[in-house]
Amino acid sequence: MDLIIESLPLLGKGLVVTFQLALSALFLTTIVSFAVGIAAVSRFRALRILSVIYVEVFRDIPLVVNLLFVYFGAPLVGLSLDPFAAALVSFTSWGSANGAEIIRGGFKSIPKHQRESAVALGMRPAETMALVLLPQILLPILPAFTGLFSILIQSTALATMVGATEFLRTAQIIVERTTMMTGMSPAFAVYGFVLCVYFVICFSLNLLTAWLERRIARSRSAHRPAAEAPAKAAEIKPAEAT
Protein backbone atom coordinates (compact mmCIF):
# COMPACT_ATOMS: atom_id res chain seq x y z
CA MET A 1 0.00 0.00 0.00
CA ASP A 2 2.78 2.39 0.95
CA LEU A 3 4.47 1.51 -2.29
CA ILE A 4 1.41 2.49 -4.28
CA ILE A 5 1.07 5.77 -2.46
CA GLU A 6 4.75 6.44 -2.97
CA SER A 7 4.45 5.62 -6.66
CA LEU A 8 1.32 7.63 -7.21
CA PRO A 9 3.06 10.51 -9.01
CA LEU A 10 4.64 8.08 -11.42
CA LEU A 11 1.43 6.07 -11.87
CA GLY A 12 -0.42 9.34 -12.29
CA LYS A 13 1.86 10.31 -15.16
CA GLY A 14 1.22 6.96 -16.75
CA LEU A 15 -2.50 7.39 -16.28
CA VAL A 16 -2.36 10.80 -17.94
CA VAL A 17 -0.67 9.22 -20.97
CA THR A 18 -3.33 6.51 -20.99
CA PHE A 19 -6.05 9.14 -20.90
CA GLN A 20 -4.42 11.12 -23.68
CA LEU A 21 -4.09 8.00 -25.76
CA ALA A 22 -7.64 6.86 -25.05
CA LEU A 23 -9.26 10.23 -25.66
CA SER A 24 -7.37 10.86 -28.90
CA ALA A 25 -8.14 7.32 -30.07
CA LEU A 26 -11.83 7.68 -29.26
CA PHE A 27 -12.01 11.06 -30.95
CA LEU A 28 -10.26 9.96 -34.13
CA THR A 29 -12.12 6.65 -34.15
CA THR A 30 -15.45 8.44 -34.03
CA ILE A 31 -14.58 10.76 -36.90
CA VAL A 32 -13.11 8.06 -39.12
CA SER A 33 -15.95 5.65 -38.26
CA PHE A 34 -18.55 8.10 -39.50
CA ALA A 35 -16.57 8.89 -42.62
CA VAL A 36 -16.07 5.24 -43.50
CA GLY A 37 -19.60 4.27 -42.41
CA ILE A 38 -21.17 6.97 -44.57
CA ALA A 39 -18.95 5.95 -47.47
CA ALA A 40 -20.36 2.44 -47.07
CA VAL A 41 -23.84 3.67 -48.08
CA SER A 42 -22.66 6.20 -50.65
CA ARG A 43 -24.11 6.51 -54.14
CA PHE A 44 -20.62 6.10 -55.48
CA ARG A 45 -19.59 2.54 -56.04
CA ALA A 46 -15.88 3.30 -55.65
CA LEU A 47 -16.45 4.75 -52.19
CA ARG A 48 -18.55 1.77 -51.15
CA ILE A 49 -15.84 -0.64 -52.28
CA LEU A 50 -13.09 1.32 -50.52
CA SER A 51 -15.16 1.32 -47.37
CA VAL A 52 -15.69 -2.43 -47.47
CA ILE A 53 -11.98 -3.03 -48.01
CA TYR A 54 -11.06 -0.76 -45.11
CA VAL A 55 -13.53 -2.41 -42.77
CA GLU A 56 -12.58 -5.95 -43.71
CA VAL A 57 -8.83 -5.38 -43.59
CA PHE A 58 -8.73 -3.76 -40.18
CA ARG A 59 -11.43 -5.86 -38.57
CA ASP A 60 -9.86 -9.12 -39.57
CA ILE A 61 -6.42 -8.35 -38.12
CA PRO A 62 -5.94 -8.74 -34.37
CA LEU A 63 -5.31 -5.39 -32.77
CA VAL A 64 -1.98 -6.53 -31.29
CA VAL A 65 -0.71 -7.62 -34.68
CA ASN A 66 -1.89 -4.35 -36.19
CA LEU A 67 -0.04 -2.43 -33.48
CA LEU A 68 3.23 -4.32 -33.87
CA PHE A 69 2.98 -4.01 -37.63
CA VAL A 70 2.42 -0.26 -37.53
CA TYR A 71 5.20 0.35 -35.00
CA PHE A 72 7.84 -1.88 -36.53
CA GLY A 73 6.62 -1.52 -40.10
CA ALA A 74 6.49 2.26 -40.24
CA PRO A 75 10.28 2.76 -40.49
CA LEU A 76 10.30 0.45 -43.50
CA VAL A 77 8.20 2.95 -45.43
CA GLY A 78 10.27 5.86 -44.20
CA LEU A 79 8.01 6.92 -41.35
CA SER A 80 9.25 6.94 -37.84
CA LEU A 81 6.39 6.80 -35.40
CA ASP A 82 6.96 7.11 -31.70
CA PRO A 83 5.13 4.53 -29.58
CA PHE A 84 2.29 6.93 -28.81
CA ALA A 85 1.70 7.79 -32.47
CA ALA A 86 1.96 4.18 -33.56
CA ALA A 87 -0.56 3.16 -30.92
CA LEU A 88 -2.89 5.95 -31.97
CA VAL A 89 -2.75 4.98 -35.65
CA SER A 90 -3.28 1.37 -34.81
CA PHE A 91 -6.17 1.90 -32.37
CA THR A 92 -7.88 4.33 -34.69
CA SER A 93 -7.69 2.07 -37.72
CA TRP A 94 -8.95 -0.93 -35.77
CA GLY A 95 -11.56 1.05 -33.86
CA SER A 96 -12.90 2.87 -36.89
CA ALA A 97 -13.23 -0.33 -38.90
CA ASN A 98 -15.45 -1.68 -36.14
CA GLY A 99 -17.18 1.67 -35.68
CA ALA A 100 -17.88 1.96 -39.39
CA GLU A 101 -19.48 -1.47 -39.36
CA ILE A 102 -21.75 -0.40 -36.49
CA ILE A 103 -22.74 2.73 -38.42
CA ARG A 104 -23.32 0.82 -41.63
CA GLY A 105 -25.58 -1.53 -39.67
CA GLY A 106 -27.45 1.50 -38.35
CA PHE A 107 -28.08 2.76 -41.88
CA LYS A 108 -29.14 -0.66 -43.07
CA SER A 109 -31.83 -0.81 -40.41
CA ILE A 110 -33.47 2.35 -41.78
CA PRO A 111 -36.29 1.45 -44.20
CA LYS A 112 -35.31 2.38 -47.74
CA HIS A 113 -38.38 4.58 -48.09
CA GLN A 114 -36.82 7.07 -45.70
CA ARG A 115 -34.09 7.92 -48.13
CA GLU A 116 -36.44 7.72 -51.10
CA SER A 117 -38.98 10.06 -49.64
CA ALA A 118 -36.28 12.61 -48.85
CA VAL A 119 -35.01 12.32 -52.42
CA ALA A 120 -38.54 12.53 -53.79
CA LEU A 121 -38.95 15.79 -51.84
CA GLY A 122 -36.06 17.22 -53.80
CA MET A 123 -33.53 17.05 -51.00
CA ARG A 124 -29.90 16.83 -52.01
CA PRO A 125 -27.89 13.74 -51.08
CA ALA A 126 -25.93 15.58 -48.38
CA GLU A 127 -29.14 17.01 -46.89
CA THR A 128 -30.73 13.59 -46.94
CA MET A 129 -27.76 12.18 -45.07
CA ALA A 130 -27.41 14.97 -42.52
CA LEU A 131 -31.06 15.71 -41.81
CA VAL A 132 -32.87 12.44 -42.41
CA LEU A 133 -30.57 9.43 -42.15
CA LEU A 134 -27.86 10.33 -39.64
CA PRO A 135 -30.22 11.56 -36.91
CA GLN A 136 -32.07 8.27 -37.10
CA ILE A 137 -29.07 6.06 -36.39
CA LEU A 138 -27.53 7.96 -33.48
CA LEU A 139 -29.66 6.47 -30.75
CA PRO A 140 -29.70 2.88 -32.06
CA ILE A 141 -25.92 2.74 -32.45
CA LEU A 142 -25.19 4.28 -29.06
CA PRO A 143 -24.91 1.03 -27.06
CA ALA A 144 -22.67 -0.69 -29.59
CA PHE A 145 -20.56 2.42 -29.95
CA THR A 146 -19.92 2.91 -26.27
CA GLY A 147 -19.15 -0.80 -26.07
CA LEU A 148 -16.48 -0.16 -28.68
CA PHE A 149 -15.24 2.80 -26.65
CA SER A 150 -14.88 0.60 -23.61
CA ILE A 151 -12.88 -2.00 -25.55
CA LEU A 152 -10.68 0.74 -27.00
CA ILE A 153 -9.92 2.16 -23.56
CA GLN A 154 -9.00 -1.29 -22.32
CA SER A 155 -6.89 -1.83 -25.43
CA THR A 156 -4.73 1.18 -24.71
CA ALA A 157 -2.90 -1.14 -22.30
CA LEU A 158 -1.54 -2.88 -25.40
CA ALA A 159 0.55 0.20 -26.12
CA THR A 160 2.90 -1.19 -23.46
CA MET A 161 4.03 -3.68 -26.06
CA VAL A 162 5.64 -1.02 -28.21
CA GLY A 163 7.06 0.78 -25.21
CA ALA A 164 4.63 3.62 -24.67
CA THR A 165 4.93 4.62 -21.03
CA GLU A 166 1.24 4.63 -20.34
CA PHE A 167 -0.47 3.45 -17.17
CA LEU A 168 0.21 -0.27 -17.38
CA ARG A 169 3.82 0.32 -18.45
CA THR A 170 4.54 2.56 -15.46
CA ALA A 171 3.07 -0.11 -13.21
CA GLN A 172 5.36 -2.66 -14.80
CA ILE A 173 8.35 -0.41 -14.25
CA ILE A 174 7.46 0.02 -10.60
CA VAL A 175 7.05 -3.71 -10.11
CA GLU A 176 10.39 -4.47 -11.80
CA ARG A 177 12.28 -1.75 -9.97
CA THR A 178 10.90 -2.68 -6.55
CA THR A 179 11.57 -6.36 -7.14
CA MET A 180 15.15 -5.55 -7.99
CA MET A 181 15.68 -3.26 -5.04
CA THR A 182 13.91 -5.22 -2.31
CA GLY A 183 13.96 -8.72 -3.70
CA MET A 184 10.20 -8.94 -3.16
CA SER A 185 7.66 -8.66 -5.92
CA PRO A 186 4.79 -6.22 -5.30
CA ALA A 187 3.11 -7.48 -8.45
CA PHE A 188 -0.11 -8.51 -6.76
CA ALA A 189 -0.69 -5.17 -5.11
CA VAL A 190 0.38 -3.00 -8.04
CA TYR A 191 -1.44 -4.90 -10.76
CA GLY A 192 -4.43 -5.19 -8.46
CA PHE A 193 -4.46 -1.42 -8.27
CA VAL A 194 -4.10 -1.15 -12.07
CA LEU A 195 -6.98 -3.56 -12.52
CA CYS A 196 -9.20 -1.52 -10.23
CA VAL A 197 -8.43 1.70 -12.09
CA TYR A 198 -9.30 0.24 -15.50
CA PHE A 199 -12.42 -1.28 -14.03
CA VAL A 200 -13.55 1.99 -12.50
CA ILE A 201 -12.99 3.90 -15.76
CA CYS A 202 -14.87 1.46 -17.98
CA PHE A 203 -17.57 0.82 -15.43
CA SER A 204 -18.20 4.57 -15.16
CA LEU A 205 -18.44 4.75 -18.93
CA ASN A 206 -21.02 1.97 -18.92
CA LEU A 207 -23.02 3.69 -16.19
CA LEU A 208 -22.87 6.92 -18.13
CA THR A 209 -24.12 5.17 -21.26
CA ALA A 210 -26.96 3.47 -19.46
CA TRP A 211 -27.99 6.77 -17.95
CA LEU A 212 -27.79 8.52 -21.32
CA GLU A 213 -29.85 5.83 -23.01
CA ARG A 214 -32.50 6.00 -20.33
CA ARG A 215 -32.67 9.76 -20.61
CA ILE A 216 -33.05 9.71 -24.37
CA ALA A 217 -35.56 6.89 -24.20
CA ARG A 218 -37.59 8.84 -21.66
CA SER A 219 -37.56 11.99 -23.74
CA ARG A 220 -38.99 9.99 -26.63
CA SER A 221 -41.11 7.58 -24.61
CA ALA A 222 -44.34 9.45 -25.29
CA HIS A 223 -44.44 7.97 -28.77
CA ARG A 224 -42.23 4.90 -28.59
CA PRO A 225 -44.94 2.21 -28.64
CA ALA A 226 -46.59 3.34 -31.85
CA ALA A 227 -43.20 3.72 -33.50
CA GLU A 228 -43.39 0.12 -34.56
CA ALA A 229 -46.47 0.65 -36.70
CA PRO A 230 -44.88 1.57 -40.05
CA ALA A 231 -42.35 -1.21 -39.66
CA LYS A 232 -45.15 -3.70 -39.14
CA ALA A 233 -46.89 -2.54 -42.25
CA ALA A 234 -43.65 -3.11 -44.13
CA GLU A 235 -43.48 -6.67 -42.85
CA ILE A 236 -46.96 -7.54 -43.88
CA LYS A 237 -46.33 -6.34 -47.40
CA PRO A 238 -42.79 -7.39 -48.25
CA ALA A 239 -43.71 -7.61 -51.92
CA GLU A 240 -44.30 -3.89 -51.89
CA ALA A 241 -40.72 -3.14 -52.84
CA THR A 242 -41.05 -5.12 -56.04
Binding site: H113, V119, E240
Partner: protein
Protein backbone atom coordinates in the same frame (compact mmCIF):
# COMPACT_ATOMS: atom_id res chain seq x y z
CA UNK B 1 -56.29 22.25 -70.68
CA UNK B 2 -52.77 23.13 -71.70
CA UNK B 3 -51.46 21.64 -74.93
CA UNK B 4 -48.28 20.28 -73.39
CA UNK B 5 -48.86 17.30 -71.08
CA UNK B 6 -47.56 17.87 -67.57
CA UNK B 7 -46.13 14.37 -67.45
CA UNK B 8 -45.21 12.34 -70.46
CA UNK B 9 -43.28 9.17 -71.12
CA UNK B 10 -42.35 7.99 -74.59
CA UNK B 11 -41.32 4.44 -75.44
CA UNK B 12 -40.23 4.07 -71.84
CA UNK B 13 -38.39 0.85 -71.11
CA UNK B 14 -37.01 -0.28 -67.81
CA UNK B 15 -34.95 -3.35 -67.33
CA UNK B 16 -33.64 -4.25 -63.90
CA UNK B 17 -30.30 -5.86 -63.35
CA UNK B 18 -30.62 -9.51 -64.12
CA UNK B 19 -32.67 -8.83 -67.24
CA UNK B 20 -36.06 -8.41 -65.58
CA UNK B 21 -38.09 -6.32 -67.96
CA UNK B 22 -40.40 -4.21 -65.80
CA UNK B 23 -41.60 -1.75 -68.46
CA UNK B 24 -41.67 -2.05 -72.22
CA UNK B 25 -42.53 0.82 -74.50
CA UNK B 26 -44.78 2.70 -72.17
CA UNK B 27 -46.33 5.83 -73.69
CA UNK B 28 -48.15 7.88 -71.13
CA UNK B 29 -49.46 11.41 -71.35
CA UNK B 30 -51.02 13.10 -68.37
CA UNK B 31 -52.57 16.49 -68.94
CA UNK B 32 -52.63 19.31 -66.44
CA UNK B 33 -55.42 18.67 -63.95
CA UNK B 34 -56.01 15.13 -65.06
CA UNK B 35 -56.41 12.27 -62.59
CA UNK B 36 -55.07 9.00 -63.92
CA UNK B 37 -55.48 5.77 -62.02
CA UNK B 38 -53.15 2.90 -62.86
CA UNK B 39 -54.50 -0.57 -62.27
CA UNK B 40 -52.92 -3.93 -62.83
CA UNK B 41 -51.88 -7.16 -61.19
CA UNK B 42 -48.91 -7.40 -58.86
CA UNK B 43 -45.60 -7.14 -60.66
CA UNK B 44 -47.09 -5.48 -63.73
CA UNK B 45 -44.78 -2.47 -63.41
CA UNK B 46 -47.10 0.13 -61.87
CA UNK B 47 -44.69 1.23 -59.17
CA UNK B 48 -41.76 1.14 -61.54
CA UNK B 49 -43.60 3.41 -63.96
CA UNK B 50 -44.32 6.17 -61.48
CA UNK B 51 -40.88 5.81 -59.93
CA UNK B 52 -39.40 6.41 -63.37
CA UNK B 53 -41.37 9.63 -63.64
CA UNK B 54 -39.49 11.26 -60.75
CA UNK B 55 -36.22 9.46 -61.29
CA UNK B 56 -36.29 7.10 -58.32
CA UNK B 57 -35.56 4.46 -60.95
CA UNK B 58 -33.12 5.05 -63.74
CA UNK B 59 -34.76 4.36 -67.08
CA UNK B 60 -33.22 1.97 -69.59
CA UNK B 61 -34.45 3.66 -72.74
CA UNK B 62 -37.15 6.02 -73.95
CA UNK B 63 -37.87 9.43 -72.53
CA UNK B 64 -39.50 11.13 -69.57
CA UNK B 65 -40.80 14.66 -70.03
CA UNK B 66 -42.18 16.90 -67.32
CA UNK B 67 -43.77 20.17 -68.31
CA UNK B 68 -42.63 19.53 -71.86
CA UNK B 69 -39.01 19.31 -70.84
CA UNK B 70 -36.93 16.18 -71.17
CA UNK B 71 -35.68 15.20 -67.72
CA UNK B 72 -33.90 11.89 -68.16
CA UNK B 73 -30.26 11.96 -69.12
CA UNK B 74 -29.89 15.57 -68.04
CA UNK B 75 -28.09 14.87 -64.79
CA UNK B 76 -29.11 14.94 -61.14
CA UNK B 77 -29.82 18.68 -61.13
CA UNK B 78 -32.67 18.34 -63.61
CA UNK B 79 -34.12 15.41 -61.69
CA UNK B 80 -34.00 17.40 -58.49
CA UNK B 81 -35.88 20.22 -60.19
CA UNK B 82 -38.47 17.71 -61.37
CA UNK B 83 -38.90 16.30 -57.88
CA UNK B 84 -39.60 19.78 -56.60
CA UNK B 85 -42.44 19.95 -59.13
CA UNK B 86 -43.84 16.44 -58.75
CA UNK B 87 -44.70 15.16 -55.28
CA UNK B 88 -44.82 11.52 -54.31
CA UNK B 89 -46.67 9.59 -51.65
CA UNK B 90 -45.53 6.10 -50.72
CA UNK B 91 -47.42 3.13 -49.47
CA UNK B 92 -45.63 3.24 -46.11
CA UNK B 93 -45.95 7.02 -45.61
CA UNK B 94 -42.23 7.17 -44.75
CA UNK B 95 -42.57 10.17 -42.47
CA UNK B 96 -39.32 11.06 -40.74
CA UNK B 97 -39.67 9.50 -37.28
CA UNK B 98 -37.15 11.77 -35.55
CA UNK B 99 -39.10 14.90 -36.43
CA UNK B 100 -42.52 16.10 -35.34
CA UNK B 101 -45.39 16.51 -37.77
CA UNK B 102 -44.69 20.18 -38.40
CA UNK B 103 -41.00 19.69 -39.12
CA UNK B 104 -41.78 16.76 -41.41
CA UNK B 105 -43.80 19.11 -43.54
CA UNK B 106 -41.53 22.15 -43.41
CA UNK B 107 -38.13 20.49 -43.77
CA UNK B 108 -38.00 20.05 -47.55
CA UNK B 109 -39.55 23.38 -48.63
CA UNK B 110 -37.17 25.21 -46.28
CA UNK B 111 -34.15 23.32 -47.54
CA UNK B 112 -35.13 23.90 -51.13
CA UNK B 113 -35.39 27.61 -50.42
CA UNK B 114 -39.01 27.70 -51.55
CA UNK B 115 -40.06 29.58 -48.42
CA UNK B 116 -38.88 30.76 -45.07
CA UNK B 117 -39.43 28.66 -42.00
CA UNK B 118 -42.27 30.91 -40.88
CA UNK B 119 -43.99 30.75 -44.26
CA UNK B 120 -43.54 27.00 -44.35
CA UNK B 121 -45.10 26.62 -40.91
CA UNK B 122 -48.04 28.75 -41.93
CA UNK B 123 -48.48 26.64 -45.05
CA UNK B 124 -48.15 23.46 -43.00
CA UNK B 125 -50.90 24.59 -40.64
CA UNK B 126 -53.12 25.44 -43.59
CA UNK B 127 -52.58 21.98 -45.10
CA UNK B 128 -53.04 20.23 -41.76
CA UNK B 129 -56.27 22.15 -41.38
CA UNK B 130 -57.51 20.81 -44.68
CA UNK B 131 -56.83 17.20 -43.68
CA UNK B 132 -58.20 17.79 -40.17
CA UNK B 133 -54.96 17.37 -38.26
CA UNK B 134 -54.27 20.89 -37.00
CA UNK B 135 -54.04 19.75 -33.41
CA UNK B 136 -51.34 17.22 -34.31
CA UNK B 137 -48.88 19.81 -35.60
CA UNK B 138 -46.48 19.34 -32.71
CA UNK B 139 -47.10 15.64 -32.18
CA UNK B 140 -44.31 13.15 -32.73
CA UNK B 141 -44.93 11.22 -35.90
CA UNK B 142 -45.10 7.86 -34.20
CA UNK B 143 -48.03 8.92 -32.02
CA UNK B 144 -50.23 9.10 -35.12
CA UNK B 145 -52.31 6.32 -36.62
CA UNK B 146 -51.46 5.01 -40.07
CA UNK B 147 -54.23 7.00 -41.68
CA UNK B 148 -53.12 10.18 -39.95
CA UNK B 149 -49.52 9.56 -40.96
CA UNK B 150 -50.52 9.10 -44.56
CA UNK B 151 -52.48 12.34 -44.51
CA UNK B 152 -49.43 14.10 -43.09
CA UNK B 153 -47.33 12.51 -45.84
CA UNK B 154 -49.70 14.01 -48.39
CA UNK B 155 -49.37 17.41 -46.68
CA UNK B 156 -45.61 17.02 -46.73
CA UNK B 157 -45.64 16.52 -50.48
CA UNK B 158 -48.15 19.34 -51.00
CA UNK B 159 -46.08 21.81 -49.01
CA UNK B 160 -43.66 21.83 -51.94
CA UNK B 161 -46.50 23.30 -54.01
CA UNK B 162 -46.10 20.63 -56.66
CA UNK B 163 -47.72 20.75 -60.06
CA UNK B 164 -48.49 17.06 -59.93
CA UNK B 165 -48.63 14.19 -57.47
CA UNK B 166 -47.72 10.53 -57.70
CA UNK B 167 -49.38 8.05 -55.37
CA UNK B 168 -48.11 4.51 -55.02
CA UNK B 169 -50.81 2.46 -53.30
CA UNK B 170 -51.32 5.09 -50.61
CA UNK B 171 -53.95 3.07 -48.78
CA UNK B 172 -52.57 -0.45 -49.10
CA UNK B 173 -50.73 -0.45 -45.78
CA UNK B 174 -53.67 0.97 -43.85
CA UNK B 175 -56.18 -0.75 -41.65
CA UNK B 176 -59.52 -0.81 -43.48
CA UNK B 177 -61.16 1.77 -41.22
CA UNK B 178 -58.49 4.32 -42.14
CA UNK B 179 -58.66 3.94 -45.90
CA UNK B 180 -61.61 6.28 -46.21
CA UNK B 181 -59.98 9.30 -44.61
CA UNK B 182 -56.98 9.09 -46.94
CA UNK B 183 -59.13 8.59 -50.02
CA UNK B 184 -61.20 11.58 -48.98
CA UNK B 185 -58.06 13.69 -48.87
CA UNK B 186 -57.05 12.50 -52.34
CA UNK B 187 -60.52 13.09 -53.68
CA UNK B 188 -60.45 16.64 -52.40
CA UNK B 189 -57.08 17.15 -54.04
CA UNK B 190 -58.47 15.91 -57.33
CA UNK B 191 -61.46 18.24 -57.00
CA UNK B 192 -59.05 21.13 -56.51
CA UNK B 193 -57.57 20.38 -59.89
CA UNK B 194 -54.33 18.64 -58.93
CA UNK B 195 -52.73 16.53 -61.62
CA UNK B 196 -52.46 13.04 -60.16
CA UNK B 197 -51.20 9.61 -61.09
CA UNK B 198 -52.48 7.07 -58.60
CA UNK B 199 -51.57 3.44 -58.39
CA UNK B 200 -54.31 1.94 -56.29
CA UNK B 201 -56.50 -1.09 -55.82
CA UNK B 202 -59.40 1.06 -54.65
CA UNK B 203 -61.88 0.46 -57.46
CA UNK B 204 -64.41 2.85 -56.00
CA UNK B 205 -61.89 5.66 -56.10
CA UNK B 206 -60.88 4.77 -59.64
CA UNK B 207 -64.49 4.69 -60.79
CA UNK B 208 -65.53 7.96 -59.19
CA UNK B 209 -62.43 10.14 -59.22
CA UNK B 210 -60.33 9.09 -62.21
CA UNK B 211 -60.58 10.92 -65.51
CA UNK B 212 -58.81 8.01 -67.09
CA UNK B 213 -57.94 4.48 -66.09
CA UNK B 214 -54.81 2.74 -67.31
CA UNK B 215 -54.55 -1.00 -67.08
CA UNK B 216 -51.07 -2.46 -67.05
CA UNK B 217 -49.92 -6.02 -67.33
CA UNK B 218 -46.40 -7.40 -67.66
CA UNK B 219 -44.82 -4.01 -68.12
CA UNK B 220 -47.17 -2.78 -70.83
CA UNK B 221 -50.16 -0.53 -70.98
CA UNK B 222 -52.76 -3.00 -72.12
CA UNK B 223 -55.81 -0.81 -72.09
CA UNK B 224 -56.83 2.70 -71.23
CA UNK B 225 -60.04 4.63 -71.19
CA UNK B 226 -62.54 6.42 -69.04
CA UNK B 227 -63.57 4.58 -65.88
CA UNK B 228 -67.04 4.09 -67.32
CA UNK B 229 -65.68 2.38 -70.42
CA UNK B 230 -63.11 0.37 -68.57
CA UNK B 231 -65.26 -0.97 -65.77
CA UNK B 232 -68.39 -1.69 -67.75
CA UNK B 233 -66.87 -2.90 -70.99
CA UNK B 234 -63.22 -3.83 -70.81
CA UNK B 235 -61.94 -4.47 -74.29
CA UNK B 236 -59.15 -6.91 -73.56
CA UNK B 237 -59.28 -10.39 -72.12
CA UNK B 238 -56.54 -9.61 -69.62
CA UNK B 239 -58.43 -6.63 -68.23
CA UNK B 240 -61.60 -8.71 -67.97
CA UNK B 241 -59.78 -11.41 -66.01
CA UNK B 242 -58.25 -8.82 -63.71
CA UNK B 243 -61.59 -7.15 -63.05
CA UNK B 244 -63.27 -10.50 -62.43
CA UNK B 245 -60.65 -11.35 -59.87
CA UNK B 246 -60.91 -8.00 -58.13
CA UNK B 247 -64.70 -7.94 -58.09
CA UNK B 248 -64.89 -11.45 -56.73
CA UNK B 249 -62.39 -10.50 -54.06
CA UNK B 250 -64.20 -7.31 -53.13
CA UNK B 251 -67.58 -8.99 -52.93
Amino acid sequence: MSPVPLIETAALCKEFRGGIRALSNVDLKVRQGEVVVILGPSGSGKSTLIRCVNGLEEITSGAVMVGGRRVDGAGPGRWRQTRLEIGMVFQNYALFPHLDVMRNITLAPCRAGLMTRAEAEEEALRLLGIVGLTEKARAPVASLSGGQQQRVAICRALAMKPKGMLFDEPTSALDPEMVGEVLATMRRLADDGMTMICVTHEMGFAREVADRVIFMDRGEIVEEGTPAEFFSAPRTERARQFLDLIMRHDA
